[in-house]
């Protein structure tokens, strides 16, 4: 990231269209990835990511810069995801699209690439088995490189609680992965 979105905030408020475009470009990919990790449904992740950015722009005037713009955006996305999952649970909606996420290929050989993709698929399947709060903390930490302070703010938790969620999430994930290996 060459420049933090917060530095563009003044430019956005000053009416620079390029800054708005940059803000959307910078945040839409990570927010979409986070929501896809949370929902395991690419189409709904895209819809919610769009909704999160719409709400960000609509409420930018209320942004008090107590957190970073990135954290604020993820906070909106996180709340949307939890509401969506709660509603889906009420509707008994089944999540778990088998549509694979595009993986990082690098320059591996074909067999190694297949094995790596299989490993990635297993981990993502195991992620689905976690409770939403645990899934969120793992994705924010491991995929978005957030500090526990940032994660706590996104999720509206105390920092210690976010760390405890992370620890128990890793422990549960390990059990799920080991169970899959044994099966």
């Amino acid at each position: 990231m060459a420049e933090a979105p917060d530095e563009w905030l003044e430019q956005i408020k000053a009416g620079e269209p390029a800054a708005v475009q940059r803000l959307l470009d910078e945040l839409s990919g990570p927010v979409r990835r986070y929501l896809e990790g949370m929902l395991h449904n690419p189409a709904q992740a895209e819809d919610l990511a769009q909704e999160a950015l719409v709400r960000l722009l609509q409420h930018l005037g209320e942004f008090r810069q107590e957190a970073s713009l990135r954290t604020y955006t993820f906070q909106i996305a996180h709340n949307l995801a939890l509401n969506h999952l709660a509603a889906a649970s009420t509707r008994r909606e089944e999540y778990g699209s088998e549509e694979p996420l595009q993986a990082e290929d690098g320059h591996q050989g074909a067999l190694e690439m297949v094995a790596a993709k299989e490993d990635q698929r297993r981990v993502r399947q195991a992620l689905k088995l976690l409770a939403p709060q645990q899934r969120a903390v793992v994705i924010l930490r491991a995929w978005e490189d957030m500090s526990f302070k940032e994660i706590a703010r996104v999720m509206g938790l105390a920092e210690g609680t976010a760390k405890a969620h992370y620890f128990f999430a890793l422990r549960n994930l390990r059990h799920h992965l080991e169970a899959k290996n044994d099966a």
């Binding site: 956005i12 408020k13 000053a14 009416g15 620079e16 269209p17 800054a19 708005v20 475009q21 959307l24 470009d25 839409s28 990919g29 990570p30 979409r32 990835r33 896809e36 990790g37 895209e46 990511a49 769009q50 950015l53 719409v54 722009l57 609509q58 930018l60 005037g61 996420l101 595009q102 993986a103 990082e104 290929d105 790596a116 490993d119 990635q120 981990v123 993502r124 992620l127 793992v138 491991a142 995929w143 500090s147 526990f148 760390k163 405890a164 992370y166 620890f167 890793l170 422990r171 994930l173 390990r174 992965l177």
Partner: protein, 153 residues
């Protein structure tokens, strides 16, 4: 200090108390679990999707822009109609078509330095000013679109 407390402190970033380090170093079970948790962390990082497909910013802007433009535009339309009525001799419809205010698009009127804008709402106007030229470049937002966005709110 319990096994879990020691592991959380060692695993997560931040200053680690000596007590936690001593516990993990002395406890076979904790050492083994810490290693396994670090491996799981590494597995998750490797499962991170590479793609960062961006969203279509037009779709985002079109959802933000028309509603604001429409909300901000109606007082301008009302003011134009009132002026037209006071001047007399012209039908409202004809004047509405010929008056500069009425010929502006909803977005253009929203961009005017509106005296009716509520105090403390500068950021909204600034955002609109930022978003408008870009959205216009991409595609014109029709009045019908604006109406439908208002209705959907």
């Amino acid at each position: 200090m319990t096994h879990e407390e020691a592991l959380i402190r060692v695993l997560c970033q931040g200053p680690v108390p000596v007590e936690a380090i001593s516990h993990v170093e002395a406890c076979d079970s904790c050492r083994s679990e810490l290693q396994a948790l670090r491996q799981t962390e590494s597995d998750i990082r490797r499962a991170k999707p590479a793609f960062q497909a961006r969203l279509d910013s037009r779709a985002v802007l079109q959802k933000v822009l028309p509603a604001r433009a429409h909300r901000r535009a109606w007082p301008a339309v009302a003011a134009a109609a009132l002026i037209a009525g006071l001047l007399g001799g012209w039908s409202f419809g004809r004047l509405a078509h010929s008056s500069p205010a009425a010929s502006l698009s909803a977005q253009e009127m929203a961009l005017a330095d509106a005296p009716w804008a509520p105090a403390g709402d500068d950021s909204t106007l600034s955002l609109l000013q930022a978003a408008y030229p870009m959205a216009e470049r991409f595609s014109a937002v029709t009045a019908a679109d604006a109406g439908s966005f208002i209705d959907s709110e």
